[in-house]
C-alpha cells in the first residue's frame, strides 16, 4: 500500500519534471542528458547541478531527467534521450543489473554513457564509471562510530535501498570495521530504503524493541535525519547517530550537536568530472583514464562540518 503510494507520487513528480531541457545558449556542441534519481534527495540534486553547470560551461545544452529508482522508467528516459539525439549521457543509475541493457542500448545508438555514484555490473558498456569509494567511506564512518561508542554497547543499523549497490557496499564496510569490536552488539538491522519518513518509523519501532540502543549507524544522511527526528521525539538525544553523504541537513545537525558525523561523497565534483570526461571523449574519442574510477570519501564531524557546503568541503 505504502509502496504503491510512493510509486504513484514518484511518477507524478516524473510527469511534472520529466523533461527539463534547461537551455544554455551555447549551441553547436549539442545536448548532454543528465539522468539521476529523484532530486528530493539533495545528494542527487547536487549531482545534477554539478553536471549541468559543467556542461553549460563547456558549451552544451542539458536535458535533466529523473528516473526515481525505477529501471523501467530509466529505460524510457534512455529512449527519449536517444530520440533527442543527445551527444552523451551522464547517469546515476537505477539498478546495477537492470541498467546494463539501457546503457548498452545507448552505446548501440552511438551515444556514450558516463556513470557517476553507482556502478553497474558490466564493464565495457559505459565509457566511465566514476564512483565514490563507498567501502572506504563506510570504514571511515564506522571507525568514527566505534570511537564515539567507546567500542562498546548496543547499536542498530539502517540499510539503504537494496537495488542500489551502494547500500550493500556501505553495510559491508560498516560491518568490516564494527565486527572487529566484540563488545559492540548489533540489536537491529533494517532497511529504510534511503527514505527519511521510513527511517523515522523504523527507528521508532527499533527503539521500542531495543530501549538499550546506544548508537545508530545509517547508510545515508536522509535516513540519519529520519532516525534523529524519531530519537528527538522519544527524548533519546543521547543516542549516537552517524550518517553518510555529507548533506547540508546533517551538517547543520552536527553543528547543533545532534547527529555526530557523516561521510562526504564529493557528489558535485564527481558529476563535473564525468562531464569533463564526456567532453574529452566526444572531442578525442578517448577519456585517457580507466573506465572504473574511485573517488575517496572524507569524514565530516564537528571538527570540519562548518566547511561543508553542497557536498563539497571548502579549504
Amino acid at each position: 500500500m505504502n509502496l504503491n503510494r510512493r510509486l504513484f507520487v514518484g511518477s507524478l513528480t516524473a510527469a511534472v519534471s520529466g523533461i527539463l531541457p534547461t537551455l544554455s545558449f551555447a549551441q553547436a556542441k549539442g545536448i548532454i542528458a543528465i539522468i539521476t534519481p529523484s532530486h528530493d534527495n539533495p545528494f542527487f540534486k547536487a549531482e545534477a547541478d554539478g553536471a549541468a553547470a559543467k556542461a553549460a560551461e563547456l558549451g552544451y545544452e542539458v536535458m535533466v531527467l529523473v528516473h526515481d529508482d525505477d529501471a523501467n522508467k530509466q529505460n524510457e528516459l534512455f529512449d527519449s534521450a536517444i530520440a533527442a539525439g543527445v551527444k552523451a549521457i551522464i547517469l546515476d543509475n537505477a539498478g546495477a543489473d537492470a541498467s546494463v541493457a539501457a546503457v548498452q542500448k545507448a552505446k548501440d545508438a552511438g551515444i556514450p554513457s558516463f556513470l557517476i555514484d553507482r556502478e553497474i555490473t558490466a564493464t565495457g558498456v559505459a565509457v566511465s564509471q566514476i564512483v565514490s569509494n563507498n567501502y572506504q567511506g563506510a570504514q571511515l564512518g564506522a571507525e568514527e562510530f566505534v570511537k564515539l561508542m567507546g567500542e562498546t554497547g548496543e547499536y542498530a543499523e539502517l540499510v539503504g535501498k537494496e537495488s542500489d549497490t551502494n547500500a550493500g557496499i556501505r553495510s559491508k564496510g560498516y560491518a568490516d570495521v564494527i565486527s572487529q569490536y566484540p563488545d559492540l552488539k548489533s540489536v537491529a538491522r533494517q532497511t529504510a530504503n534511503w527514505s527519511q519518513t521510513e527511517a523515522y518509523t523504523v527507528m521508532e519501532s527499533m527503539l521500542q524493541a531495543n530501549p538499550g540502543i546506544k548508537g545508530v549507524i545509517s547508510g545515508n544522511d536522509t535516513m540519519a535525519m529520519g532516525a534523529w527526528a524519531a530519537l528527538e521525539a522519544a527524548g533519546r538525544t543521547d543516542v549516537i547517530v552517524v550518517g553518510f553523504d555529507g548533506s547540508n541537513d546533517v551538517r547543520d545537525s552536527i553543528l547543533k550537536g545532534g547527529i555526530k558525523a557523516t561521510v562526504l561523497q564529493p557528489a558535485y565534483a564527481q558529476a563535473q568530472m564525468a562531464v569533463e570526461q564526456a567532453d574529452k571523449f566526444l572531442a578525442e574519442g578517448a577519456t585517457g583514464v580507466d573506465e572504473k574510477q574511485l573517488m575517496d570519501c572524507v569524514l565530516v564531524n564537528a571538527d570540519n562540518a562548518a566547511k561543508l557546503e553542497t557536498f563539497a568541503l571548502t579549504a
Partner: protein, 213 residues
C-alpha cells in the same frame, strides 16, 4: 513486514556461509577460484601468498627513515610522493610511503582494540608519529603503498577493500606487543604512512615493531 524479515534472513544466510565456501575452494589448491564475491576470500588469500613475502615485504624493506621522509616532504607532497611513495587508486587518494624509525613512547592506548603508541622520533619530547599496533588496523596503506596492487585488476571496490583488510590482518597477526607499560620505552618500527597533505598527522601502519630491552 514479512518480506523484510525474509530479506534479513536471506542476507544473514548469504553472509554466514561465506567462510565455508572459502574453505571448500581453498582445499582445491590451484583450482580456479569461484567467480564473483563468493570467491573473493580465496582469491585474496592466494594473492597474499604470492605477493606478501615476495613483493610487499621487500618493498617495505626499502623504507625511508622518518627524518629522511620529513626532509623529502619539505619539498612538497607530490615531489616526495613521486620519488619515494605510491598514490592510492582514485581521485583524492593519499600518497603512501614505506617508513621506519625509532623513538621513545610518550603515550599509549593499549586497552582499545585499535592499540596505539605515540612516539617521539626527533627527541623534542613531543610525539610526532602514531603507531597502529592492532589488532584492529585502520586504512589501506599497506595495499596502497604497493604499485602492484591496482584497483583496475579487481572486480570492484569490495574485492579491492578485502585485499586491504587481509593485508592489515596479516601484518597485525605478526605484531608482537609486549605486556606491560610502553610509555617511556624506546621502540623501533617499520611500516607505512599515508598522507593527503604535508601537514597530516602521521598514522603508521606497523609491520615490524620492537621494544628495546
Amino acid at each position: 513486514m514479512k518480506s523484510h524479515v525474509v530479506a534479513l534472513c536471506l542476507m544473514a544466510a548469504l553472509a554466514l556461509p561465506g567462510c565455508k565456501i572459502v574453505k571448500t575452494v581453498a582445499e582445491g589448491e590451484g583450482a580456479a577460484a569461484v567467480a564473483g564475491e563468493a570467491g573473493d576470500d580465496a582469491r585474496i588469500a592466494a594473492l597474499l601468498d604470492k605477493t606478501y613475502d615476495a613483493e610487499l615485504l621487500p618493498l617495505l624493506a626499502k623504507a625511508l627513515p622518518v627524518a629522511d621522509l620529513r626532509a623529502a616532504l619539505a619539498g612538497g607532497l607530490e615531489a616526495a610522493g613521486a620519488a619515494h611513495g605510491n598514490k592510492g587508486s582514485g581521485e583524492g587518494a593519499a600518497w603512501n610511503f614505506a617508513v621506519k624509525g625509532e623513538g621513545k613512547v610518550v603515550e599509549a592506548n593499549l586497552t582499545s582494540r585499535a592499540r596505539k603508541a605515540m612516539v617521539d622520533t626527533d627527541g623534542d619530547g613531543a610525539a610526532d608519529v602514531m603507531l597502529q599496533l592492532g589488532p584492529v588496523i585502520k586504512g589501506s596503506s599497506l595495499r596502497d603503498v604497493a604499485p602492484f596492487y591496482r584497483f583496475g585488476d579487481f572486480r570492484d571496490q569490495i574485492e579491492f577493500a578485502k585485499l586491504a583488510r587481509a593485508l592489515n590482518d596479516r601484518a597485525s597477526t605478526a605484531l608482537v606487543v609486549p605486556e606491560g607499560e610502553l610509555v617511556g620505552k624506546s621502540v623501533s618500527f617499520a611500516g607505512t604512512v599515508d598522507l593527503k597533505a604535508v601537514g597530516d598527522a602521521w598514522l603508521v601502519t606497523v609491520v615490524t615493531f620492537a621494544v628495546a630491552p
